[in-house]
Symmetry: C2
Subunit: 440 residues, 2 copies
């Protein structure tokens, strides 16, 4: 008998090619090594730990492809405001005042913890002080792709775009062998990066084999301004710069025309859908029917909590599926199983990691979550995919395993002390309120 790290026993396994089935998973060295009946696995392996998943769905962890973990303390700080008022008078002043290595590390620690609570096992971040975000992700035990936000002006930790790109290259080298951390190039947007900066970003991504993360076609205004300035729409403009030579992950992307969709499809770019944020900020929406037809890879992001205001992927799949049905006058579009695949395997593809994560498969990393289906509100259950998309909330997510390690068990985080995080959040809240009241 072989000694292994973990057996997850008797869960209702969700895979994308077979019917859901009660089964057990043997895990060793971070990877899924066998799937089968528990009697069979228990005859073959001696696990250090066993996780009982009876009465629970077992599925791949969610892959959140667009967020800003370091913004956690701005959650619900200002709502129901026009975008420029919200940014200029609330978010930017607060960031200008508070951003520091300590602040971002603390905020990201809370952000990573909250993502685990929402069943997210991998997130793709765009923010400042990436090295601090990396430390927090490692501490919580969550997988992360980190992009230092490239801007043409001086930011908290770097003085210009070149310095930010140098920081990104340093991060890439520093975390090359890391089990949990990958680095991306994160150009903020076409309206905050010059042509030269966008080209340099793309070149760096290509040189070091990183993905290119960018806010793209988020608002009507962005498209309008691009047409005025460059005589092209945003995707066409980026294409003219050779931006799509590396794999691009376009966050938002709700104001595309047909030619832009064709470019994204041809260049194998992925989209990070952020429905909550787009609706809440009144940025808008688009039908994804043509995106699906053209085969553009779709994934799902929560965006930052300042514009969401939570990190629930279950809310995003529900909201996105329902909105798309009404927009397309078609209740069959984005059915439940497809939404779950977008939020897991779609995200893995978007991050170039679908050989490693995103589904329950032998040889893949064990990034898994369990979801309780025994309570009153979950009864009756006919189809677990339907329940995930239309019925359940994140509180039903009980256990989270990343890279073969349990990081949350029965909703208790294993690697961080929640009460410390809560105290820290209250501490920063007081400081933020004082600053906003002009008392700091």
């Amino acid at each position: 008998m072989q000694k292994i790290d973990l057996i997850i026993k008797n869960g209702l396994l969700l895979t994308f090619d077979k019917e859901p089935k009660i089964s057990s998973i043997a895990i060793n060295d971070g990877k899924i090594i066998e799937i089968g009946k528990s009697e069979h696995l228990e005859k073959k392996y001696i696990p250090t730990k066993t996780l009982d998943a009876e009465g629970k769905i077992v599925m791949p962890g969610f892959v959140n492809t667009h967020t800003h973990a370091g913004m956690i303390y701005f959650k619900g700080m200002a709502d129901d405001l026009p975008l420029m008022d919200w940014l200029s008078n609330h978010i930017w002043p607060a960031e200008g005042h508070f951003l520091s290595a300590d602040f971002v590390r603390d905020a990201a620690l809370h952000g990573c913890a909250e993502m685990i609570k929402n069943g997210i096992t991998t997130f793709n971040d765009m923010y400042f002080f990436g090295d601090e975000v990396a430390k927090s992700a490692q501490k919580v035990g969550i997988r992360a792709v980190l992009g230092e936000v490239v801007l043409d002006f001086s930011v908290a930790n770097c003085h210009n775009a070149d310095a930010i790109l140098a920081y990104s290259a340093m991060m890439h080298s520093k975390y090359k062998e890391d089990e949990l951390i990958d680095i991306a190039v994160a150009a903020h947007a076409i309206y905050t990066c010059s042509k030269e900066t966008l080209i340099k970003s793309a070149e760096l991504a290509q040189k070091l084999g990183m993905i290119l993360h960018i806010h793209l076609s988020e608002t009507r205004q962005e498209v309008k301004d691009c047409l005025t300035k460059f005589g092209m729409r945003p995707v066409e403009y980026l294409d003219s710069l050779g931006f799509f030579q590396s794999p691009v992950l376009a966050a938002h992307a709700i104001w595309l025309d047909e030619n832009e969709e064709n470019i994204l499809a041809k260049k194998n770019a992925s989209i990070a859908i952020n429905t909550s944020s787009n609706l809440k900020l009144a940025s808008g929406f688009d039908s994804f029917a043509t995106y699906l037809e053209k085969g553009i890879n779709l994934s799902l992001g929560t965006d930052g909590v300042a514009s969401n205001n939570n990190l629930s992927m279950l809310e995003e799949i529900s909201l996105t599926s329902k909105l798309q049905k009404a927009l397309n006058d078609d209740p069959t579009i984005l059915p439940a199983h497809q939404m779950v695949e977008i939020a897991t395997l779609g995200g893995a593809k978007a991050l170039g990691k679908d050989k490693e994560i995103g589904s329950i498969q032998i040889g893949k990393k064990a990034d898994l979550i369990t979801i309780d289906i025994t309570n009153l509100e979950a009864q009756p259950m006919y189809n677990p995919f339907s329940h995930l998309v239309y019925t359940l909330t994140s509180e039903s997510i009980k256990d989270v395993i990343v890279n073969g390690k349990i990081v949350m068990q029965d909703r208790k985080l294993i690697n961080v002390d929640e009460s410390e995080l809560i105290d820290k959040a209250k501490f920063y809240r007081e400081k933020i309120i004082a600053f906003r009241n002009g008392k700091d």
Copy 2:
């Protein structure tokens, strides 16, 4: 010192006219008798029970103005289907086979229990076997307005519309003095009730002082057919029949033109918004900006779980607020505090009960809920209304008080055994699956 039933101590009280404030509530004989500091109340009253609400929001319970509690066992039975396929091949056959007094009583018991878990203290129901629904509501301890669905064909418990209206009159008389149960006239829709039936429904409502509950302008097809058949749009058609002489509660109402909005405003009709259901069934959506301008009273419904698939009012307020912002290209529309008011006081108004319920006010019935704001995902909190709409889910709802009585404490239902409800749901699930597989 006066003996009273209950003190709710040190919660963060949400009222609609003052800033949220830590305060305590004295309750006796089903009603709020005083609001003040706990030291003050404890000097004055000896409560039989004290509920500690420290670290919790205390707010009026949600008023769910459109649902079908008896459909609970069809939750997630069939999704992602075109409306007529869903109805004709899934819902109607199952209803045809299963509807009975026992089935509806059992289902409604589960439905009422689930509503309490979602912080709903009053619901407005439209279904069959209302007397059974009443028994279940009384058992759970939830306030209900019950309408026997008026149709022009034979249904499970009545043979024609006249019989259903007679049943409604009987119910009105039977529950006239009941503390929790009110009766409405519930005409199903303009496409399932003849002109005569609609007129008789309106006359009965007027005669006995009941509200008139109807599905109205839910789909484009309904409007199209009405125009073809009557040369008028649905609201105009109902108005031509004198339907609006009683207070009308129109469920859905997303395909109104300006004249119809004017009629509803002039006639003081209310709308039950059902955003989840409208999106999921691809029925559509409408901007509510003009509804708000014209002063139409808006309230919120979950619809039945067969088309939602849950009974969360927190999801409805979040979804509705966010969708409306994007539809109107205006992030300031339906701000958080207004959405919370719509889901509580708006519902009370829609049911003609705003003198009794819907807000925290001395003399009103004590229909209250507490919501935990101490966990990680709730940190930091700047504005409790924002958290209710954009951040929290129903699992944060801890205690529910209806008519001065605690019906859920720390998420445990007081008057029903949850494990029995779960077993019953599993029992019916097996029967429903067997029927759908042709084995019953």
